[in-house]
Each structure stands twice: as C-alpha cells, then as structure tokens.
C-alpha cells in the first residue's frame, strides 16, 4: 500500500512538473529582437514600431519585441546577437548590419544556433541569403530609384520645369546608400540636359555640416534653383541656411528618409520632397516573415531568389502627395495585412 502511495505521489509530481514546463514553454513569448544602429535614429524607431505593430496582431503573449541598439559599433552588434542566440533559442532577429562585413558573422552565429533572421539595408556583395538556411531574406529600398525620383521631382518644380542650376549635397562617401542615390541623380541628369550642377560636395549625413556647407555655398552662388540633398538630416540644415537669408521656399530642396520635420517642411513648402523609407512596412513585414519561418508556416529553403532578396516600396512625399501621406500614414498609421507576406515586395534585387 505504501509503495502504491509513494508511486502515485511521484507520478503526480512528474505530471505536474511536465505540465508546468509545458505551460511555461507555451507562455514564453517568442522574442523578436531588432538590432539597429541607435535608438536616436527616427527611421530605426519607425522600423521597431513596425515590428511592434505585427506583434500586436498576434494573440496576446505570443511574441515580444526587444531592441538591441549597437551604437554604430560592429563588435557590439555581433556580441549582442551571439549572446542572445546562445541564451535563447525562442527568438528571431531583424538586423540592420552596422557594416556590410558584419553580415557573415551574424549569418554564421544564427545558422549555428538555428535562429531565423532577416537583414535590411546592408549586405556585402556576393553574400546572399540563398546560401544559408536560417537567413530568411534581405530587404532594402532601391536607392537608385530614390535618387532618381527626388531629382526628377525637383527638376519639375523649377520655374522653367526641367531647366535650372543645382547644388549636390552628398552623404557619407563610399556609403552604399549614398552611391546608389547619386547614381539615380546621374540617370536623371542624363534625361534633363538643361540642369547645370554648380557644385557637388559631401556633408556626411550631418545637419550641422549641411548648414555650414549651404551657408558657404550661398556666399559663392547667388543664382540657385535647387539643392539635391541625399538625406533629410542634411536637408534640414540646408533649409536653416536658406531661412537665415529669407530664401526658404524659393530654392528647392530634396530629401530622403521621411523624417517628421522634413515631411512638415514639405507641407510648409520649404522642402520640395522627401522620400519616405517606410520603416513601418519594412519592420512589420520583416517580423512577419521571420515569425512565419519560426512557426514553420513557410519553408525558407523552398523560397525562390525573388523572395530571398527584394526591394520594398517607399513613398515620395511632395507638395501634391503630402495631404495623402498625412491622411494615410500620420493620422491613420498604416495597417498591413501580414497574412499576405508578398505585399511588401516591390521587386527582386538584381543578383
């Protein structure tokens, strides 16, 4: 009798332990880790908000977002990711590789740990998700299209559309995004032969430097129709320089990134346009793809190249599209249907 009692006690304890563990396992949410450059970047915070929007569509407690800011430090990014995958297999990761060469280390760490991950913006040439099982996809925006679109919209806004003098303010030299955007500008210039470039210099993506560069340019050139600037950060400095001499709104200024202040400037007419990257779309769908791979809804190795490396859609905000943008993105933040994963794909990246 005693034996039966003790056996039943052990049985009860084991059952409880197993059930408890199972419940604990089921209750443990999947961590959607977002490794970004810095929480000070407005764009990256949009991306995080996108991932959160996806999590909000899941049943409560199914997943949670964790931010891993690397503060532009390659080693910190790799170490954070390695630590995370070592301590938690219940995780998927969305990464903006701080520098392209980081990708290989991240890919290997995730492959070894069996953790699904998605990259955006940076990847070295020749390294693609196709050679990895757990690297779901790489997504980015078509920088050349951005550079081209903002240029054409600027040229068309001139007094004599398609004819005028411009200044070119580039971002960080040898940076992929900058090079692509400038390539787009060159394509536009080839189509608009009456556009003359007065000067072409870099302001390092920085507002302060954009301001100082524009101030000096204003001392040199007095007949400027527009400034093609490769990012909103620099454009805002340009607008400040123009404002100090009462030229804001009279000289066209382009931008890329969709900073709130730049969008406001487009609305107010002090900037001609800004190309919104749409971090909400990128972050939301990156999370959705990675989560689908984690839950087994999609089989990564069965996806074709167009689903492993693709461009996402941005949005060109100009004076004409501004009301539409405010209505659809600011007043009513976009709600996406994450069950249709293909929605975010604008086109495949050239291999």
């Amino acid at each position: 009798m005693k034996k039966i009692k003790s056996w039943s006690l052990i049985f009860a304890l084991v059952t409880m332990a197993v059930c408890g563990a199972a419940m604990a396992f089921a209750a443990e949410p999947v961590t959607i880790a977002v490794s970004i450059r810095s929480m000070s970047s407005e764009y990256h915070m949009q991306y995080v908000a996108g991932a959160q929007a996806f999590v909000d569509t899941l049943p409560e407690g199914a997943a949670k977002v964790q931010i891993l800011p690397c503060e532009a430090d390659d080693n910190k990014q790799i170490n954070d990711i390695k630590t995370l995958v070592a301590s938690n297999s219940n995780v998927v990761i969305l990464v903006d590789p701080n520098n392209a060469p980081n990708v290989t280390s991240i890919a290997e760490a995730c492959e070894e740990a069996g953790v699904y991950w998605v990259s955006f913006w940076n990847t070295p040439e020749g390294i693609t998700p196709l050679s990895y099982k757990y690297w779901v996809h790489h997504q980015t925006l078509d920088g050349e299209a951005q550079g081209y679109d903002i240029a054409v919209s600027l040229f068309k806004s001139f007094k004599t559309p398609g004819k005028g003098k411009i200044l070119v303010m580039e971002g960080m030299m040898a940076n992929t995004a900058n090079e692509e955007r400038v390539k787009g500008l060159k394509r536009a210039l080839a189509e608009y032969p009456d556009i003359e470039i007065l000067d072409d210099q870099s302001a390092n993506w920085d507002t302060n430097e954009g301001l100082a560069l524009m101030e000096t340019w204003l001392a040199k050139y007095d007949d400027i129709d527009g400034v093609w600037s490769a990012s909103d950060g620099m454009s805002l400095g340009v607008v400040q320089a123009l404002k100090a001499v009462g030229l804001e709104g009279k000289v066209g200024v382009t931008g890329v990134d969709g900073f709130k202040d730049a969008i406001d400037a487009v609305g107010a007419g002090t900037m001609t346009n800004s190309y919104v990257n749409n971090g909400w779309l990128q972050g939301g769908y990156a999370a959705a793809w990675a989560y689908a791979a984690y839950t087994g809804k999609i089989k990564v190795d069965e996806l074709d190249a167009g689903h492993r490396m693709f461009f996402t859609e941005g949005y060109l905000v100009t004076k004409d599209t501004y009301p539409d943008y405010i209505k659809n993105f600011v007043d009513n933040p976009p709600v996406y249907d994450y069950s249709n994963l293909d929605f975010c794909i604008k086109g495949p990246m050239p291999q």
Binding site: S38, A203, D206, N208, E215, G233, Q240, A244
Partner: protein
C-alpha cells in the same frame, strides 16, 4: 670702444642670448597673425567668392561656435589639461534648448530663459568634471571623455529617438538679426571672448592659471589653491561648452545629439594653431581668437574652392601637427611621451 673693455664676455653672451630669446618669443607670438594674414591673402586670391561682404558675414556666423568652444578650452589647455566633453555636453545642452523653447515635441515655452537653463547645465557638468579630475586625481582627458559619452546618452534619452524641431520665432529672429552687420550669434561669441580676455588679464584667477600651467609645483608652494583654480577652469569650460551648444541649437533649430559632433577637434586645433602650447602656461585667449579665425577661414575657403570634406578634415590634421611642431620646445632636456 673703450666701454667694451669693461663688459665681461659672459655678460655679453648672456645679453645676446636674452635678446635672441626675446626676438624668438616675439616671432612665435606674432606668427599666428602672420599665418592668418597669409591664408587670408591666399584664399582671397584663389577661392572664388571668398572676398565678399556676404562671405565675411558667413565666416562670422561660422566662427561663433568654434570661438566660444575655444575660449573654454584655452584656459583648460593653459593649465596643461584637456577637456573633451564638448561633443556630448554641447549636444546635450543644444537638445535641452530645443526641448524648452516652443517645439514640436512638447508644450514648453520658456523663451530666452531656456538658453540660461541649458548654459547652467553645462556649467554644472563642468563643475562635476573638474571635481572628479581634481579630487579623484584622474587624468582630465579620461574624465571629460567619459563625461562626453555620458552626456551623449542623456541627450539621446532626452528626445527618445525623435529630435525636437524648435518652432520658436525667437530663434529665427536671432539667426537672421545683426548689429552693425555682425550676426547676433557672433556678437554673443565675441562677448564670451571679451569675458575670457578680462578673466585672463585682469583677474588673479587668470594669473594663477598661467602660473599653474607653467609650473604646478611652484604655484602650489607659493600658496595658490591649485585644486580650486582647476575646478574653476572646468566650470568656465563647461559654461563655454553650454553656450556653444545653445548657439548650435539656435543655428540648426533642431535638437539632435549630433549638434556637438566634430566641435572639439577643430577647437583644439584653433587653440594650438593660435600658439597656446598643449603643455600649458603659454598662449592665451587672443591667440585662440586668431586660431579660431584661421581654422574657420581655411574651412570656408576650401569649401568655396570645392575641396572634398575628407581632404578638409585631413588638412586640419596636418595643420595641427605643423602648429604643434612649431610651438613646442624641443631642447635636449625635454622628454616627449
């Protein structure tokens, strides 16, 4: 001829040596002005648009931040110390201003007192750096570098990813206004220069700073409260960094942590190019004004000539090395670490 017989050869040699030394000191003292004149003439000749009234106004505008930063650093460097906190602290003070005036993030509307609050923050952090450096006996470059990092963090936290855009019409008034053709912000920076000049030449504090920089042990033995003077210098440097952060914020009207970026190195360049030695005790605020002008016109001229920004920053490095090489005493007994 007869007189000569009574002077001993040693005395003559001494007098000759003294005259030589004074002449050398005079040349070194006036060299920066010569360099400024040289670059001014050179750029006037080769940089298109350099010699115009509009460009002078631009130069004055661009002078304001480096000049104020330089005024703070001059005293620190005269001591033989360094203050690297400018990047983070300047950025923080700038962010603070944009969050306190009418802006896109909150309902604050402090108006002009916002500038004062931000400057006081700079001052307080300066006191903190000085205290740690003096009482903790930690090298100043290490303390201030750490402080810069800490304040950068605070700056980012203050606006949580989305920098504030200042919408206060006061700021536009300040950036577009001028007295006798000199922009308000430059006037403000010149006032800081006047204050620094007064501090250095007409107060005991200024004399003590020189004495400590020249030889700290001697100053200490003669009863100077070295620790207290050092802390005061760091408070002054904090004040100047605060003012430069506020000026940057007014100019850009956007409170991004990047406001302080790349302000410290040009300021150190300006101090050294002006003729203040990094070992302390020699130089002063007038030298630094000349140095700040040199750095600003070179940068302005190179932009006008269409020189790439990376070459500009490389040139800044070359200039600092040349300036230091010319200003240090490389006698046989000097040990270089």
């Amino acid at each position: 001829m007869e007189k000569k017989q009574y002077t001993s050869p040693i005395a003559e040699e001494f007098a000759y040596e003294m005259r030589r030394q004074t002449r050398k000191a005079k040349i070194i003292n006036y060299a920066p002005v010569g360099v400024l004149a040289f670059f001014f003439a050179l750029l006037s000749a080769i940089a298109p648009g350099f010699l115009s009234l509009y460009n002078f106004r631009t130069i004055l505008n661009q002078l304001s931040v480096p000049l104020v930063m330089t005024m703070g650093l001059t005293f620190v460097i005269l001591l033989g110390c360094t203050d690297l906190s400018g990047e983070g602290l300047g950025g923080f003070c700038g962010c603070l201003v944009t969050l306190l005036v009418i802006n896109t993030k909150n309902a604050n509307d402090f108006g002009a007192p916002a500038f004062l609050i931000a400057i006081c923050c700079g001052l307080a952090v300066g006191l903190f750096s000085g205290f740690i450096h003096v009482k903790g006996k930690i090298p100043s470059f290490m303390v201030t570098y750490a402080i810069s990092s800490i304040m950068s963090g605070f700056a980012v936290m203050s606006y949580r990813g989305q920098p504030a855009m200042a919408k206060d019409p006061l700021l536009t008034k300040i950036t577009s206004g001028s007295v006798l053709g000199i922009p308000y912000l430059t006037v403000a920076s010149l006032l800081v220069f006047v204050a620094a000049f007064f501090l250095q030449n007409y107060t005991r504090f200024g004399a003590y700073v020189m004495a400590i920089g020249d030889n700290e042990a001697v100053a200490r033995n003669t009863g100077v409260n070295v620790d207290r003077i050092k802390m005061k210098v760091f408070i002054w440097a904090g004040f100047c960094i605060g003012v430069s952060g506020v000026i940057s914020a007014i100019r850009v009207a956007r409170g991004d942590v990047g406001l302080g970026k790349d302000t410290v190195f040009p300021a150190i360049t300006a101090v050294v190019v002006g003729g203040t030695t990094l070992t302390g005790g020699k130089g002063g605020v007038v030298n630094s004004l000349v140095g700040a002008l040199i750095v600003t016109i070179i940068n302005n001229g190179l932009i006008l000539m269409g020189v790439n920004m990376y070459i500009r920053s490389a040139l800044q490095g070359v200039i600092i090395i040349i300036a230091v090489a010319l200003s240090v005493n490389r006698g046989k007994k000097v040990i270089v670490k």
